[in-house]
Amino acid sequence: MALSIDQKKSLMTNLIRAEEFNRMMYRRMMQGKLIGFYHPAEGAIAPGVAASTFLNQDDNLSPHHRGHGITHMLSKGIDIKYYLAEHTGKVTGCCEGRSAFHFSFPEHKVYMMSGFIGYNFAPAVGWGFAAKQRQKGQVVMNCSGDGSYGQGRAHEALLMAQNWKLPIIFFCENNGMSIFSTAMEMHPKPDISSLAEGFGMPSAIVDGQNVFEVAEACLEAIARARAGDGPTFIEAKTLRFNEHDIGTPDLSGWEERSEQEHAEMRAREPVAIATKIALEEGWLTQPDIEHMREAALREITDVEAFADESEIARPPVEELMQGVFAP
């Protein structure tokens, strides 16, 4: 589905925000200013931005854990400061500082990121089930990595979504790796989307480094889902520039990933690719892009200030006990 210039600009804006937010998270983790772990998104920011920028507030989004879903959430219009505060253990966090790296923005229909890989699939069936019954054209954008498709839960969700023609997009961000393992070794065919064939589900494979190409496929799948024509499988081929999570070695199998692999990867940098397209097509100038980056950096300054100035969450156990059950 062809993109308008406004749409392209939105994608560009979010892509730059995503890049800067990821840098900020990486830096803070290294500075000891984040709780738990962080799975850096460098090189892999385009798919989440493309999948999430054109969702409505009342569409469901399950962000991928890469970059801790920030690329997705900021594109959907969620204010990241509440998540950063959460990730810093603060009272102002979106989960009151209880959840470490988890998040929840129910009003945006971003309910959670499970610590268990593949735990997006089954709830997505439930969201799709509810959306279908409601008949308001809502869709479910269900993002996760190539590795998550090892989980049998993926099969159950693909099966049920296709049986019931649910408005779900199975959005696979295939960076070719899960921790140290390669998709080449862990999946028998070159594409994860081969699975869709088994269910007769339409699928598309796109260049995950090109935010516009991914977005076009997403818009098409979203339109299909909104029209009641059922699920789509989209596989965005992307890359993981860094180690799996900060502190873990950067192995392939059990050996360091090669310099050559790194060099080849870094030649496919998503912001550089998008910038080139924007400048060539002429709907942005270099100064426009610099303004976008400045705006992103200002936003991040505010987000960090909010998190850093908030108090550490240390409620007494008795108070916590009150929150175990809903009234």
Partner: protein, 322 residues
Amino acid sequence: MRTITLTDAIREAIEEEMRVDSSVFVVGQDVRGAIFPHTKGLVEEFGTDRVVDTPIAESGMYGVAFGAAQEGMRPIVDFMFGGFSYVTFSECSVTTGQYHFLHGSQHALPIVITAGVGTGQRLANDHAMSIHGTFAHHPGIKVAMPSTPYDAKGMFKAAIRDNNPVVIPWHMGIMMLKGEVPDIGDDYIVPLGVADVKRVGSDVTVLANSLQLQHALSVAEKLAPEISVEVIDPRSFVPFDMETLLTSLEKTNRLVIVDEDWESGGFAATVSARVVEQGFDLLDAPILRVTLPNMPVPGGYMEEYVAPNPERIEAAIREVCL
């Protein structure tokens, strides 16, 4: 009042709540055709959008309930046999129990989880396991089990109206048990977290639930000339009504806990430990537990004497009353 069976009482609760609240629905495997009587006929009244069969895919099936609950619906998910909840146990326990609390207590997750449980069908471990104790180990989930048709209807209604995940299995050994239930139209609930003194006594307290409650009551009746047995049905395991139990112990000073779950890690151990912590001075004798021994539940004829039964309950009562 009418006299109906336990599973009919459950069906009435589901039907009535479905009528008044369009967000309530049932999801499971073969719930339309109804493997057990409590979903029989629902599909005719409510249609396939609200009485939903899934493939044999417990995680996906539970996902329908979980995701729909996040979307504001009130699913009742039926696992057929309790053991099948284990097929997607991480979702039922960890993911479910942590959802509300971990995310800042901002979003409720109203799910009712039900299934038939228990010994008596000679089907062996995987079809005979109890699940209440395992769920009660995992925080954020309410756990209850009815012992009479009256309680079944009232507790299922309470569970469906609760804003939390509630695991409420029913025991296959009493599925055809008949009892008095208020007339249709007389709406009532039995609140979760309130125990019930099913028989008043003064020498010893027996805590028992479901099929085992029936056993305890028959033993109490038999022993009446010799020993005055107070029989308490906890009804809920989470939240657990400690007050009713301690009040009884103030009178009897003796406790036998009957629980159709394993000795190791079962709920009976938790009750015993709590009583020791909170009511040590009330005890004139050790608390005894009548439970499943720590072996997989055998099928065949062994089930009868491996599971708790009236003989074992009587022996425990006599021992604490020595």
